[in-house]
Amino acid sequence: MKANFSPKKILNNIQDYFIEISMTKFVIYMVLIAWASTTILPLLWVANNSFRTTTQIVDAPFSLPDSFDLANYINASERINILNSYKNSLIMSGTTVLLVLLFGGMAGYVMARFKFRFQNFINKMIVVALMIPAFVTVVPVYEIFIKMGIVNTYLALILPHTAGNLVFATMMLSAYMSSVSTEIEEAALLDGANRWQIFTRIFVPISRPAFATVGIFTFLWSYNDLFSALVFVPNKSVQPITVLLNQVKSQYGTDLGLQATAVIVTVIPVLLVYIILQKHIIKGLTQGAVKG
């Protein structure tokens, strides 16, 4: 205990704290906690089910497990080689993220900072691209891949995922870059920097939060895409982890406990990626750089 301990000081601190948490703050916290409970409970429900059998889930869908039975996890690890599938997922989705950030950053920069002839046309095309359903692209792309002989390789998922996610990336990054102040850019140009240098040395660092966000969602969408995985990489040794979700069901019945386990097993890496990347969504990078 420190020598300068004084009960009065602590009381004052507590009092200050409560004054600071005004009525507004109280309401804000209530809203946030209410929403958080709607988002946490479903995940807990799934996690809970991953320790239960189908019979238990069917008989009492919302009860706690009797014990932490790892049977479903053991079962899941026998269904597929989980570590190998994680590796496949990380290689494919990781490469997709890097390609999307690079090409999306370049396209976003141009769309945000230049005015040119086909810009409006490209903008319209982006809206069209946002709405193209997977079933439209899957057949022609599969035919191309068969001709190129890259079915059952990592590229068979990386290429279409890169194309698909570049759309959102370009939108998001150009929106962010468009608010960067022109003064910095002009100063750099007068210093003799070329466009590539301006892009990599000014726009990339300033837009770090937007790159992080694009990285998060690109990873998520590429990682979760079961449909493409089942079509483009049928070979089990190349398949990503999300295919586990296809393995838990059949007309003989869905193993609900195993399904929950598969969800937890697939979700963990995405949550880790989110937790790591969201640290970059912070203020301060742009102080003074954004046109106010």
């Binding site: 946030l32 900072r113 959102f168 939108m171 608010s179 979700v267 949550l271």
Partner: protein, 301 residues
């Protein structure tokens, strides 16, 4: 995008800029052409054929388009999709903006909320759909057990009158976190110094939000609106798992109708026609939205 630029951000022009523009856009354009636009053009071609299982196409001219215009389910699904769209823009984007601003305002627990709000997005529609089916189930569902415990009559949650609302709730709820993260990212652009100035001048929290925050993230909200509109036009998996569009197509949206046409009825030509219809609707609606919202570029001095 489409919405987000204003002329004033354009940089100084140089002679070789056209080359720069070309090379910076080239990779993205190549990817899009091969993996998105080539397939959609092939699809457009397919809309003139009657084809089952994607084999033995039979040319039928505008047959699929005539069928589309006279198909009552298409119009019901379009109506439902528009209701869905309005709700998505108001609640999904609205809640996303609200929650992001709130999290930006608080000091304690920021990371906790940032993490937990993201949870629903990572869960597959199959598992969330199962959850909601277990909530809505008439004989064994959680909602009806609560009602029974309180001595109320059980409710048929998924009847023709309520089914659309019942599938909208989880779909909209699931993706609030997406808009939350986008707006959170946008908020990083606003320097804290601006807020400090406002505080010194005695602005309330409410004024701070309406006078500083909202105008500065206006462009990003527009991006969210475009994403919500296009996203709703594609909405499919959660609806499919919970009601598959029923009963009597009352919760049918364009995304589910397209899916069942292609994957269940195996009518590839007609399914492609619905896809083209969705894209045309999307372009029209986003263009109108742009016109309607207008271009309000705000600068603060």
């Amino acid at each position: 995008m489409l919405l987000t630029f204003s002329l004033e951000v354009e940089t100084i022009k140089f002679k070789n800029d056209n080359k720069v523009i070309f090379f910076f856009l080239l990779p993205a354009l190549l990817f899009w052409s091969i993996f998105l636009f080539y397939p959609i053009i092939r699809s457009l071609y397919k809309t003139f054929f009657f084809t089952v299982h994607n084999i033995n196409p039979e040319f039928i001219g505008f047959g699929n388009y005539i069928k589309l215009l006279t198909d009552p389910v298409v119009w019901l699904a379009t109506k439902n999709t528009f209701i869905f769209m309005i709700a998505a823009v108001i609640f999904q984007v609205g809640l996303g903006v609200l929650l992001a601003i709130f999290v930006d305002l608080i000091r304690y627990g920021k990371n906790f909320f940032r993490t937990t709000f993201f949870f629903p997005i990572v869960l597959s529609a199959a598992s969330l759909g199962l959850l909601f089916r277990l909530l809505y189930n008439y004989d064994a569902g959680l909602l009806n057990s609560i009602l029974e415990a309180l001595n109320f009559e059980p409710v048929l949650w998924l009847d023709a009158a309520k089914a659309l609302a019942m599938v909208m709730i989880p779909t909209i709820w699931q993706y609030v976190g997406f808009y939350f993260v986008i707006i959170l990212t946008a908020l990083t652009k606003i320097p804290n110094s601006l807020y400090e100035v406002a505080k010194i001048e005695g602005a309330s929290t409410f004024q701070r939000i309406t006078k500083i925050t909202l105008p500065l993230i206006f462009q990003d909200i527009r991006v969210c609106i475009v994403l919500a509109i296009t996203g709703t036009l594609k909405v499919f998996d959660m609806v499919w798992v919970i009601t598959a569009g029923g009963p009597f197509d009352s919760s049918q949206v364009l995304g589910t109708y397209m899916y069942s046409t292609v994957f269940q009825r195996r009518l590839f030509g007609y399914g492609s026609t619905i896809a083209i219809f969705i894209i045309i609707l999307g372009v029209i609606v986003t263009t109108l939205t742009n016109k309607f919202i207008g271009n309000r570029d705000v600068t603060i001095d």
